[in-house]
């Protein structure tokens, strides 16, 4: 299953489109990084893809997906176990504490907090809850909006391992991030976005070729593209 995005106009605020001409594809077994400055339109693109924000002109093909939002979204009156149970029940599963759930709880060291309200957790722990919920069930696609936000180095490393595993299992993963160093290491392709438009997309090698800099880092490439775009 692949993700196909073709948004001509979307994510409206006060009758004005925030994103336009966003067109890309994420193939199965591929991890694609959505890169951009603050307010460039990354989260808007992801939210428009999932129908949270409107798309007026365009088409989105996306299978069943696991989603990590930009900020943790937790229910104030549910414990961690209840969040997991609720998620599994919505997905039509009978058992809540599956081996996968136990494994994820152990990986992110939240197994001792099962009966606590996650809204009282620290920011990083809340992010871990969102990751657990997204990876609980096996999905064909994953949409991750700033998944490294607030995570400690150990948790980041564990998340990277999980992403590698999912990729190997054939999942299509779209991830927006500011952690460019990390993205450079793990992403197969990149979509560089600014002012709600795609600046450039491709592998690191093709991006280097586009900016004519052989050993440029992702940050250098992004800076060069931004400058070129502003001159235009």
């Amino acid at each position: 299953m692949t993700i196909n995005i073709n948004i001509h106009k979307g994510g409206y605020v006060e009758n004005e489109a925030i994103i336009s001409n966003i067109e890309f594809q994420v193939n199965s077994g591929e991890l694609v990084g959505l890169i951009g400055s603050n307010g460039a339109g990354k989260s808007t693109t992801l939210q428009a893809m999932m129908g949270v924000l409107p798309i007026v002109d365009g088409q989105v093909t996306i299978g069943n997906y696991g989603y990590v939002p930009e900020r943790p979204i937790l229910y104030e009156y549910f414990t961690l176990w209840e969040h997991i149970d609720f998620y599994m029940r919505v997905a039509g599963k009978e058992n809540s504490l599956t081996n996968r759930a136990k494994e994820l709880l152990e990986i992110f060291q939240l197994d001792h907090k099962l009966h606590d309200y996650p809204t009282t957790f620290s920011k990083g722990m809340q992010q871990k809850v969102m990751l657990i919920l997204a990876f609980l069930d096996k999905h064909s696609t994953y949409i991750l909006d700033e998944p490294f936000m607030g995570l400690d180095p150990q948790a980041m490393r564990k998340l990277l391992t999980i992403l590698e595993e999912l990729k190997a299992q054939g999942a299509a993963i779209l991830m927006s991030t500011h952690a460019l160093d990390t993205a450079e290491k793990i992403c197969d392709r990149f979509i560089l976005i600014d002012h709600g438009r795609i600046l450039q997309q491709g592998t690191l090698a093709s991006l280097r070729l586009a900016v004519k800099q052989d050993n440029a880092s992702l940050l250098d490439i992004f800076d060069t593209l931004l400058e070129e775009n502003h001159h235009d």
Binding site: L74, Y75, Y77, T120
Partner: protein, 371 residues
């Protein structure tokens, strides 16, 4: 009314209106207020028509008079002063005096209207049961009004225990004057007292700034009166909507499922929210207990109306709770279909509304049959 007073009264009205609008859904208010007024009118009419055979004929007149002297009171003579007035308004003496005077006349006229309405409602008891003349009833109004005004003045001057003694003294004086002293003399005594109180208040509290801080404090208390009253009735509103607890305290604290069926997940979220959100739980229980209480005390013909009102009130309250739960952002990460939502909504309304109302109805039928 001075423009400053008008402006501050407008501010107070809008504050109280917003407060009410925050806690009462207009549909609930409509379901409760309109039927309550209609039922109240018919109950009162029923009571007046059968007054000669009702229980009130056994209450002695002296008891009613003493009770009226004890329970009626002016809470505060409004000044509409604010803390910042110490900096600005206090320098403009003329305007401050005008504001305080307007506050005095506003408070007194409001109290007089309330007292007159209360006495008008009680008039049948006085006139039919105790054969009190209308002129005497007007004298009673004067007595109560002057007594309340005197008490509120003493409140500003005396300590708590002194206030209690003076209140008891004023109550005895008023009762004795009304029952045993000739009407003209009573009217004269209380008119002189009223004039004296007004001039005393003007001299010591309007033209003087000696009690400025005390007056501001009392006026602020009056400004937040409805909010304080609301918190007394429903203390759970004081706490934030979000629980501060780390984990649930009582039921289902070890995160067990409430419903075994895994497709009842919407019911689970609504029921657990109802249990853990005090505002929802107490609101629901309050409506239910009020409905049950009313069905017991009202006459037979009104019981069905109360049941119908209870049904619609609970229904609209539950719909509003479910709506609020569905407005939560959590639903952006869970993919739930409209069919699942509608089915759960219908089951929830049956459980929280239809079932309790049916139970009350069955109990009422059994109760009526037994009697």
């Amino acid at each position: 009314m001075t423009s400053l007073l008008r402006q501050r009264r407008k501010l107070e009205r809008s504050y109280n209106f917003k407060l009410l609008a925050n806690i009462i859904d207009w549909t609930v208010a409509l379901y409760v207020v309109v039927p309550a007024l209609v039922i109240g009118f018919f109950l009162y009419k029923d009571f007046i028509l059968n007054i000669s055979t009702s229980w009130v004929i056994h209450i002695p007149l002296v008891f009613i008079i003493v009770l009226l002297f004890l329970i009626t009171r002016i809470e505060t003579i409004r000044t509409y002063l604010q803390r910042a007035d110490r900096l600005f308004l206090i320098q403009n003496r003329k305007q401050m005096v005008r504001l305080k005077q307007a506050g005095l006349y506003w408070s007194l006229s409001k109290h007089l209207t309330l007292l007159s309405s209360a006495l008008a409602l009680l008039a049948p008891i006085f006139i039919i049961v105790h054969h009190v003349k209308i002129f005497e009833l007007l004298i009673l109004l004067l007595l109560l009004f002057t007594n309340n005004f005197t008490n509120v003045l003493l409140q500003l001057k005396l300590h708590k225990w002194q206030q209690l003694v003076s209140n008891i003294f004023m109550c005895i004086l008023g009762t004795v004057c009304f029952l045993y002293v000739p009407v003209i003399i009573t009217a004269l005594i209380y008119l002189i007292l009223l004039v004296f109180c007004t001039s005393y208040y003007n001299r010591h509290f309007v033209y003087s700034t000696k009690y400025f801080d005390q007056q501001v404090e009392l006026d602020q208390a009056a400004f937040y009166k409805w909010q304080s009253l609301l918190f007394q009735i429903a203390p759970e509103l004081r706490s934030q909507l979000v629980p501060k607890l780390k984990k649930p305290r009582l039921l289902w604290k070890n995160s067990k499922r409430m419903f075994r069926r895994s497709d009842y997940f919407i019911e689970e979220i609504v029921c657990k929210t109802m249990l853990r959100q005090k505002q929802y739980l107490f609101g629901y229980l309050r409506f239910l207990s009020m409905g049950i209480g009313l069905t017991i005390i009202v006459p037979s013909w009104a019981k069905i109306i109360i049941l119908v009102i209870l049904y619609f009130t609970l229904r609209s309250m539950m719909q509003s709770v479910i709506q609020q739960i569905f407005e939560h952002k959590i639903w952006s990460i869970f993919q739930v279909t409209n069919e699942q939502i509608n089915a759960a909504n219908s089951r929830l309304l049956k459980g929280f509304v239809n079932l309790p109302v049916l139970c009350v109805f069955v109990i009422l039928v059994i109760f009526t049959l037994v009697n």
